[in-house]
């Protein structure tokens, strides 16, 4: 019995430590090579908003809380944020800004590979790193890119189109 509990404790600890997101809920996932395909695959079939931002980007600071409110008002939509600055040591600042903006519960990523050209190239070869940037992925996988600050009304309209498309027989 005791042996089982010790063995169980080992298993529990190993699984706890080895699990992705070991450091706790609210942590940022490192966005690395292949992460973009992983995101597309994980959200396939569901309308998804992917928002690229950065802690030093002025317009991002204005837009983040609006997106946070949008997520609150539309619980059904998949919200993904990706901190796309080259930030070697600032996941804390990124997490803090996300939480203050009401996006703490979103699926939050942070560029985790210094070779940002390669990361961006995987997402969109035409993107040179300007942020904010929002990619709307329809349930069918169609991609709409909004450069710069997005208007929430435009995202709302897109989401309504998704719902209408899904409702069609």
């Amino acid at each position: 019995m005791k042996r089982q509990s010790v063995a169980g404790a080992i298993f529990f600890l190993i699984s706890l430590i080895s699990a992705p997101g070991f450091a706790g809920q609210g942590d940022l996932k490192p966005f690395e090579r292949g992460s973009w395909q992983q995101i597309l695959h994980a959200h396939a079939g569901r309308p998804t908003i992917v928002h690229f931002w950065g802690v030093t980007c002025g317009p991002c600071k204005v837009e983040l809380p609006l997106l946070g409110q949008f997520m609150k008002d539309h619980a059904a939509v998949d919200m993904v944020t990706i901190s796309a600055d080259l930030v070697p040591n600032l996941p804390g600042a990124a997490r803090s800004m996300l939480e203050k903006s009401g996006l703490g519960a979103a699926e939050n990523w942070i560029f985790g590979d210094g070779f940002v050209e390669r990361l961006r190239f995987e997402i969109d070869p035409g993107w040179q790193g300007d942020i904010p940037r929002t990619i709307l992925i329809s349930g069918k996988g169609d991609i709409t890119t909004i450069e710069g600050s997005a208007e929430m009304a435009d995202i709302q309209k897109w989401l309504e189109q998704q719902s209408a498309a899904a409702a069609k027989p």
């Binding site: 080992i10 210094g114 961006r120 190239f121 942020i131 710069g148």
Partner: protein, 414 residues
């Protein structure tokens, strides 16, 4: 409990401890590796050149090459008498680890005047809201010691993206992007867009700078500036401006004298309406014939990609933009210089695996250009490619994470 059971429990506990220790160590090691080698734009975290993320070159009039770089939270300077093959012992400009501006278009600046006085400027993030501050320092003993860095302006608002150039009379001209005007706008309930182009000059080799003055309000806030001289006492600045309707296209301003800003002249109507930080500023060089040469990046309605244009009338009107690089290879970070024998332009291209620096040259002041050729490449992240001349040859300066610092003449390439 039997002896065997006790031993077995002991073994299990030992195994548990060893396993947890191993996994924790592995996790810590991964985090360390991930942090320093993977997620960072630098190969390591020491103040050495090998660990630099940004390196800026400057030639002194005696032909000595000077480098300023940021690495390990510090700005350091060293010199080379043999074209970068061997370096002097680096000297720290900063005495402590600082939160140096790591924005893609930030880098330390260095200028060496005819008397060998070295002026340095760089930006830091001075608070948790990422407000910037431009600091300057100087060395009057040939780079042995640098004065304690001081703010270039008394304003406590945000400044970033300083640019510095040496005038013919030995004075220094500095321009930067400054957010001080957002304060009165906020007080009056007005929306404030972008930043302002501010400038100052130094007549004592960078010991002191004149009071900061504004050249233009509401410019884009996150792109590097380019400075060149149209003649003695006539600095010209290229920057991403915000034109009517939030259009972030490029403009050149040629000063009448170092304290008198001139008219804004639009380089090109690209029609890039965007409320964002493009993080990719322009480059300007003025040839001996007085021709302005500008390269820039845009993603406008009228055109997208890298472009080049020239002005034969002192930066008043510009030629039709010429596209640079392969559109399918994400061309970026263009830099142009009017060298002693030819005009040269470099930029980066990424093919999905490697980043290459491509070069084009012009023998007729920018009318015709050679076919592009790759002159260097790397398989990990890299600094912007820069060009610098000692008056005899032009050189490429390029810091790469995987292959270290490269300094190579661009002529006589195979």
């Amino acid at each position: 409990m039997s002896h065997i059971e006790k031993r077995s429990n002991f073994m299990l506990r030992k195994l548990a401890l060893a396993t947890i220790t191993a996994v924790l160590c592995q996790t810590a090691a991964y985090a360390q590796m991930s942090h320093h080698q993977h997620a960072s734009d630098a190969a390591c975290d020491e103040p050495t050149l090998r660990c630099a993320s940004k390196v800026t070159p400057a030639f002194a009039s005696d032909g000595t090459l000077w480098l300023a770089w940021q690495a390990g939270g510090q700005v350091s300077v060293a010199s080379s008498k043999d074209g970068g093959q061997t370096l002097s012992t680096p000297v720290a400009v900063t005495k402590e680890r600082l939160n140096l501006d790591w924005g893609p278009d930030a880098r330390p600046k260095i200028v060496v005047d005819r008397e060998g006085r070295i002026a340095v400027a760089f930006s830091i993030f001075r608070d948790k809201a990422f407000n910037g501050q431009v600091l300057y320092s100087r060395s009057f003993d040939g780079g042995k010691e640098f004065a304690e860095p001081k703010p270039i302006t008394g304003s406590n608002e945000s400044q970033r993206f300083e640019a510095m150039a040496l005038d013919q009379d030995g004075s220094l001209f500095v321009a930067w992007l400054d957010k001080r005007n957002r304060v009165p706008a906020k007080e009056e309930g007005r929306k404030y867009e972008g930043a302002a182009l501010f400038f100052a000059s130094s007549k004592d080799g960078g010991e002191t700078y004149s009071e900061a003055r504004m050249a233009r309000d509401n410019t884009c806030e996150c792109c590097r500036l380019g400075i060149a001289f149209a003649g003695p006492g006539r600095p010209a600045v290229v920057f991403r401006n915000i034109f009517e309707g939030s259009i972030r296209d490029h403009a050149v301003m040629t000063f009448t004298d170092p304290s008198t800003p001139g008219e804004i002249r639009r380089v090109s109507v690209d029609d890039w309406q965007i409320s964002a930080c493009p993080h990719q500023g322009p480059s300007l060089s003025i040839s001996a014939a007085g021709t302005y040469h500008v390269t820039w990046y845009t993603n406008g309605k009228a055109r997208k990609g890298l472009f080049y244009a020239r002005s034969k009338d002192g930066g008043v009107t510009f030629s039709d933009p010429v596209a640079i690089g392969r559109a399918d290879r994400s061309p970026s970070r263009p830099y142009v210089i009017a060298g002693p024998h030819e005009l040269a332009m470099v930029w980066k291209e990424f093919d999905g695996e490697k980043t290459a620096v491509n070069l084009m040259t012009s023998q007729d002041d920018g009318v015709n250009w050679s076919a592009p050729k790759a002159i260097a490449s790397t398989s990990d992240t890299s600094d912007h490619p820069l060009l610098v001349t000692d008056g005899r040859r032009t050189y490429l300066s390029w810091m790469t994470k995987a292959d270290g610092y490269r300094f190579q003449p661009i002529e006589n390439e195979p």
